[in-house]
Amino acid sequence: MDAKRIALLAVLLTILAIVVVIFFRSGVMEKIKPPGEAPLPVLEPSPPGPVQTRKIVLFFLSEADTLLHPEEREITASSSIVRQAKQAVEELIKGSKKGYISPFPPETKLRELFLTRDGVAYVDFSEEIVEKHLSGSSAEISTIFSVVNSLAYNFEAIKKVFILIEGQERETLGGHINLSRPFLPLYDLIAN
C-alpha cells in the first residue's frame, strides 16, 4: 500500500517535472518564429455555390519597356483564397494570351501555395524555376515581382509573398535577389 502510494507520487512528480520543463522551454520556442516555418493555413468559410468566375489581373513583361503589364484573366471564384491564388500563379506560368512575355521558364510548376494568418503567401515552385532561369538581375526581378504583384494586387489577404523552391528556402534564383525573406509588392514596376 505504502509502496504503491510512493510509486504513484513518484509518477505524478515526474509528470509535473516534465510539464514544468515543457512550460519553460515551450515559451522559448514559441517566441522564435523563423520565417520559413510552418505556415498556418488560413481558415475560410466554405459556402459552396454555383461555379462562378472572377476577374483577376496578372502581370507580364513586354518588349516595349521594362515594366510589368496587366492582363485580365477569369478564374474560378472558389471560396478559398488559396485555391484562387494557386490558379492565378498557374495562369501566370502558362503565360500571356496577348503576346506579353512570361518571366518564367515554361517548365516551372507550382508545387504548393500556403497563406499564413498574417498575410504571407508561401509560393512553392519546382526546381525548374532555378535550373532553367536566365539568372540575370533583371530577369530575377521580373520573375519575383510578377508573382508578388499579381498575388498582392488581386488578393487582399495576401500582403507579402515568400518564394520557396522544392519546399525549401533558397538564397536566390540565380545569384542576385535575396529570397530569404518575404517580398512586399512593388507597384512602381507596373505600367501606367
Binding site: 504513484l8 507520487l9 512528480l13 519553460f24 513583361l61 538581375s137 533583371s138 535575396n178
Partner: protein, 398 residues
C-alpha cells in the same frame, strides 16, 4: 484517501515548481544592469556590469546598438524607467557577442559615452540635436568614432566590420571589386555562349588595373580567377578588409529580347518593416531564455547583422551608384536607364558604400558581342573608375 493522495501530489508539484524556478533564477551568472536617468539636457543610459565590458557602439536612425563581445552568458536586469528620449531596450545574442539595442523616441540624437572601471560601468548620454545639424553631426561623429577604433583581427563575423574601420592606411582607400558568380555558378549565359562569370572577371581585372595605375588605393578582388565564392563570403571579405567601397560587377539578362543598356543598383529594403522585424526579434528573445536560443535564432541574428551592415550606407551607396551610372550612360549612350534598388544578397552584408553594376545585357546578342570585346571591357572599367573617383572627390574627401 484518494483526496489526500491528490492533495499531497499537488503539494509536491508546487514544491517542485518552486525548486525548479529557483534553480533557473539563482544560477550565479555575470550580469549587466540597465538604468536610465533624465537630465535637463540629456538622457543617460547606465550599464553596470559584473565584468569588464568589451564593446562598441553603432548608431542607426532611432536606434543605438551596443555590441558587447563576450562568450560568457550573462543576464540582463532592467530597471523600469520613464525617459524623454529613451524608448525601450531590446537585445540579442550571437555566438560570442551580445547586442543591446537602445531604441530612442527621437531620430535626431547624438551620443557620447564614457566608462568607469571599478566597478565596471558604461555610461551613454543621449542629446537631442536640431534637425539641420543632425546629418552633418552624425557623419562627423561617425568619422571620429571610426578614427578612435583600434583595428581588430579579422573574423568572419559580419559585425566585426560594423565596429571597426582601419585608418592605418592614412587616407588610402580600400576598394573591393566583386566579379559576379564564378566556378560552378556561371551566372547568365549569352546566345553565343558567353558566360557572365567570365566577362565580370575580365572587367574586374581591368578595373583593378585602372584604379591601381591612377589612384593611390588598395584594391582587393573577391575572386581573381574562376572560383566559387559564396555571396556571404564576398561581403565578409569586404568587411574584413575594411573596405571603403564595394563594387560588384555583373552582366544582366532579361526575358525581353530587346533589353539593353547598363544599370547600377544599390540595396533596397522596406526600412520600417525591417526595423520593426529586427526589434520584434530582439524583444522576443529576452535574456532569461538564453539557454533555449535555438540554432535557427542564431542564424536569424546573423541575418539581422548582415541586414544592418548596409543600411547605414544606403545614402552613400545611392550617390556612388548615380556617379557610376552617369559615366556608363555616356559611354553606352543610354540615358533611359538609371540607378535602381533591389534586395541583392551580396550587397546586404557589406558595411561600406556598395553598388552592383550591371554592365550590359548578355541576353542581348549585340551587347553580348560588345561584352566580349577587350576594348569595350576597358571602356567600361574606365567609366566605373571615373564614377568612383568623382564620387570620392565630391563626397568622400578627407
Amino acid at each position: 484517501m484518494a483526496h489526500r493522495k491528490k492533495r499531497s501530489a499537488l503539494l509536491a508539484g508546487i514544491v517542485l515548481f518552486f525548486l525548479l524556478t529557483g534553480v533557473f533564477v539563482s544560477q550565479t551568472q555575470p550580469f549587466i544592469k540597465l538604468s536610465v536617468k533624465d537630465y535637463p539636457t540629456l538622457s543617460r543610459v547606465i550599464i553596470d556590469s559584473s565584468f569588464q565590458l568589451s564593446f562598441d557602439i553603432e548608431k542607426s536612425s532611432s536606434l543605438l546598438m551596443v555590441n558587447i563581445r563576450t562568450d560568457v552568458p550573462f543576464r540582463i536586469q532592467r530597471e523600469a524607467f520613464e525617459s524623454r528620449m529613451i524608448k525601450s531596450f531590446g537585445w540579442s545574442k550571437g555566438k560570442d557577442f551580445y547586442i543591446l539595442a537602445i531604441r530612442t523616441k527621437i531620430r535626431n540624437f547624438s551620443y557620447d559615452y564614457f566608462t568607469l572601471s571599478d566597478p565596471p560601468k558604461l555610461v551613454i548620454d543621449f542629446t537631442q540635436i536640431a534637425k539641420e545639424e543632425s546629418e552633418a553631426r552624425d557623419s562627423l561623429r561617425e568619422k571620429e568614432a571610426l578614427r578612435e577604433k583600434v583595428p581588430q583581427p579579422s573574423t568572419a563575423s559580419p559585425s566585426s566590420r560594423i565596429r571597426t574601420r582601419s585608418s592605418s592606411l592614412q587616407g588610402m582607400k580600400t576598394i573591393v571589386i566583386d566579379p559576379g558568380h564564378g566556378g560552378l555558378e556561371p551566372g547568365a549565359k549569352g546566345r553565343f555562349g558567353t558566360l557572365e562569370k567570365n566577362v565580370a572577371l575580365e572587367i574586374a581585372l581591368k578595373l583593378r588595373a585602372v584604379i591601381e595605375r591612377n589612384f593611390p588605393s588598395r584594391v582587393v578582388l573577391t575572386r581573381d580567377k574562376d572560383l566559387d565564392v559564396s555571396l556571404e563570403n564576398r561581403a565578409a571579405l569586404a568587411n574584413n578588409n575594411k573596405a571603403d567601397f564595394f563594387i560588384s560587377i555583373h552582366t544582366n539578362s532579361s526575358f525581353r529580347k530587346d533589353a539593353r543598356g547598363s544599370e547600377t543598383y544599390f540595396l533596397s529594403r522596406d526600412a520600417t518593416d525591417e526595423e520593426a522585424r529586427r526589434l520584434a526579434f530582439m524583444e522576443n528573445n529576452p535574456t532569461e531564455f538564453e539557454e533555449g536560443i535555438t540554432r535557427e535564432s542564431e542564424d536569424e541574428i546573423q541575418m539581422i547583422l548582415w541586414d544592418m551592415a548596409q543600411s547605414a550606407y544606403l545614402k552613400q551607396s545611392s550617390l556612388l551608384a548615380e556617379s557610376i551610372q552617369k559615366e556608363l550612360n555616356s559611354l553606352l549612350r543610354t540615358s533611359n536607364r538609371g540607378i535602381k534598388q533591389a534586395p541583392f544578397t551580396v550587397l546586404a552584408g557589406v558595411a561600406c558604400p556598395a553598388v552592383l553594376v550591371e554592365v550590359a545585357f548578355i541576353s542581348n546578342p549585340r551587347e553580348e558581342r560588345s561584352l566580349t570585346r577587350e576594348g569595350f571591357q576597358v571602356n567600361v572599367a574606365q567609366a566605373i573608375y571615373r564614377g568612383l573617383v568623382n564620387y570620392i572627390e565630391l563626397y568622400s574627401q578627407k
